[in-house]
């Protein structure tokens, strides 16, 4: 993997891009980040006209490894239903880019990175970031990769928030937008669940006010509990019932507090495996960014105003019937704002009992809707017949 230090360098299949020296990322909080690094991956090549670039924005607990094989876990990328050979986004036709959000722990600068001012890991001295900050950093990466206009910006959940932010801040750099299972603002319930997760982390004695990197242990228990609570919100009651019901792990009850039920064992496993791949402080910072997200707030409280510059952008919005984390009503709210702004939007609520996670799972209607949308976008862009 090559490293890029300045704009216009040869495209690689990814690596880490460093912000040019003396060019800090200015943040919504008023602070700034020096020597910022963004870890990213690419697939395919940019065509001569520069019209085939697709940016994928990842969700809270994911990373830049949207396709292919994850280098550390060895597992397939997290959205191989969408990205891959013969898929709606195909490296044979598209130049696919996915970068780790700032504040993350997939290689981009985050709270676990070394603070150049102190030589120590940032911990809680890392500034609070926003979705707009993440997008600002992505826009600089895109420019460094030599991409002027994105054929599509695509994302689900927090990725969908970034897509909306792109449409608000950089409409002229994009041709189409796909927003899946997302919202234009975090509801009280969304914030409440995130607060439970953060409190679980901060209540772990190993968290040490965020300065655990210097010590030997990490707040694994707290992060695991945060993940367990969050994981429930990604599923649905029928999906949990279908998968586990009241099935037991062993014959009979333990008459104690072991994981008697399969659902308990499943959640414990989800929590335990999460701590291997995620940083507790990153979890705090990214959930905060999501809680602070309220796209209309910066536009006089009128969401349509946020999209006023994006009338030329084609939008596709998808929601799922059983998603109670980012329910259809929130997605429809986005669609109505797009309509009011005079944007071209397509929207469908897909029947599924898999809850919020449906956007990452086997949903043929989603596949065909995205395939149809992206093909027509390509036709309009002159990339296909």
């Amino acid at each position: 993997m090559a490293e890029l230090d300045f704009a216009g360098q040869v495209l690689s299949e990814g690596g880490t891009w460093r912000f040019p020296a003396h060019s800090p990322l200015l943040l919504d909080s008023g602070g700034k980040l020096e020597n910022l690094e963004i870890a990213y991956r690419t697939w395919g090549t940019l065509n001569e006209d520069g019209t085939n670039a697709v940016l994928i924005c990842h969700a809270l607990s994911l990373d830049q490894h949207v396709a292919g094989v994850h280098p550390t876990s060895g597992k397939p990328g997290w959205w191989t239903r969408l990205v891959g050979p013969g898929k709606p986004v195909d490296p044979a036709r598209h130049f696919v880019i996915c970068s780790n959000v700032i504040g993350g722990c997939g290689g981009s600068t985050g709270p676990a990175s070394i603070n150049p001012a102190t030589g120590q890991p940032y911990g809680l001295s890392f500034p609070v970031i926003t979705i707009a900050d993440m997008v600002r950093a992505q826009a600089m990466l895109i420019e460094a990769l030599g991409v002027e206009t994105l054929l599509a910006v695509i994302g689900g959940s927090m990725g969908g928030m970034q897509v909306q932010q792109w449409a608000a801040d950089y409409p002229d750099k994009m041709f189409s937008a796909v927003i899946v299972a997302s919202a234009s603002r975090h509801s009280a319930q969304n914030i409440a669940f995130h607060e439970v997760g953060r409190q679980a982390i901060m209540a772990d004695p190993d968290w040490k006010n965020g300065a655990y990197a210097q010590g030997k242990s990490r707040p694994e228990k707290g992060l695991a509990v945060a993940r367990m609570a969050a994981h429930i919100t990604y599923l649905s009651e029928p999906a949990l019932q279908r998968k586990f019901g009241r099935e037991l792990q062993r014959d009979g009850l333990s008459w104690g507090f072991d994981a008697d039920f399969q659902v308990e064992s499943y959640l414990r496993h989800q929590g335990a495996s999460f701590v291997d791949r995620f940083d507790a402080n990153s979890y705090l910072y990214i959930t905060r960014a999501m809680d602070y997200f309220d796209l209309a707030a910066g536009h006089g409280g009128v969401l349509a105003q946020a999209f006023a510059g994006a009338r030329h952008v084609r939008f596709c919005v998808l929601s799922f019937t059983s998603d109670w984390l980012y329910p259809t009503a929130e997605n429809r709210h986005i669609v109505r704002a797009l309509t009011a702004a005079g944007c071209r939007a397509a929207f469908v609520e897909i029947e599924s009992d898999k809850g919020h996670d449906a956007f990452l799972l086997d949903e043929p209607v989603m596949d065909s809707a995205l395939q149809g949308f992206l093909s027509s976008v390509e036709r309009e862009r002159g990339l296909a017949k």
Binding site: A340, R344, A346, V348, E349
Partner: protein, 220 residues
């Protein structure tokens, strides 16, 4: 084989115009308009299957319904708003018609005429709700909750001060027949009617009306 009413709509719509098809189903008409008239087409469709089919055709269609979702469009977003065989299935046909002519300069509206002789005959002779080619479903299965006759519809257009730009009648699979909808005979023989409507321009010279007093004691 193109449906006769679609053929008539294709004839009416100017090339390259902005069109909203309300209740666009699987997008057959929108697809035709896009390819044959190069329109900038959008659609509104209530069923997820319909919207998914439209999306796989590459059409910009939003899942929603005429009663609730027209309100979100700004004034005069479109040159034409099409409501094909759907008005009679809406909860508030009067409001829907009004909205169509707010968001578009012209509305193209078609509906089954409940004054057609077969309908009248079914009621008169058999005493039963009609099941005809234009109204194929039994009363307990029909989505049509606001059926009207051609004469009823004319009365509504007058009430809403709407201008009739053209009117065609269809019977069976036959071609469109341009009609004068005010002729009483047409209310007997038009099985399905298709209107193109626009707003009556405000009478020339009339000053803008001052806002009506709100009745609020503390107002002004």
């Amino acid at each position: 084989m193109i449906r006769q009413d679609f053929r008539e709509i294709l004839r009416l719509v100017r090339p390259g115009s902005r069109v909203l098809d309300v209740g666009c189903g699987e997008g057959v008409l929108l697809d035709l308009l896009t390819h044959e008239k190069q329109v900038d087409g959008r659609g509104l469709e209530i069923s997820a299957e319909g919207v998914a089919a439209c999306m796989s055709r590459g059409l910009s269609v939003v899942q929603g319904d005429a009663d609730q979702d027209l309100d979100h469009f700004p004034d005069r977003t479109f040159d034409y708003a099409i409501l094909s065989q759907t008005l009679q299935a809406t909860r508030q046909p009067r409001h829907v018609l009004d909205e169509l002519l707010r968001i578009a300069d012209r509305a193209v509206v078609s509906f089954p005429n409940f004054g057609h002789w077969r309908v009248r005959w079914s009621l008169l002779h058999r005493g039963r709700m009609p099941e005809t080619e234009a109204l194929p479903l039994p009363w307990w299965a029909t989505p049509n909750i606001h059926l009207c006759t051609l004469a009823d519809f004319l009365a509504l257009t007058e009430d809403l001060d709407v201008r009739i730009d053209s009117c065609a009648a269809f019977a069976g699979a036959g071609p469109a027949r341009q009609i004068d909808p005010t002729k009483a005979i047409e209310n007997w023989r038009a099985e399905t009617c298709l209107f193109m409507l626009s707003r009556n321009p405000a009478p020339a010279g009339s000053p803008t009306e001052p806002p009506a007093p709100s009745g609020d004691l503390f107002d002004g």
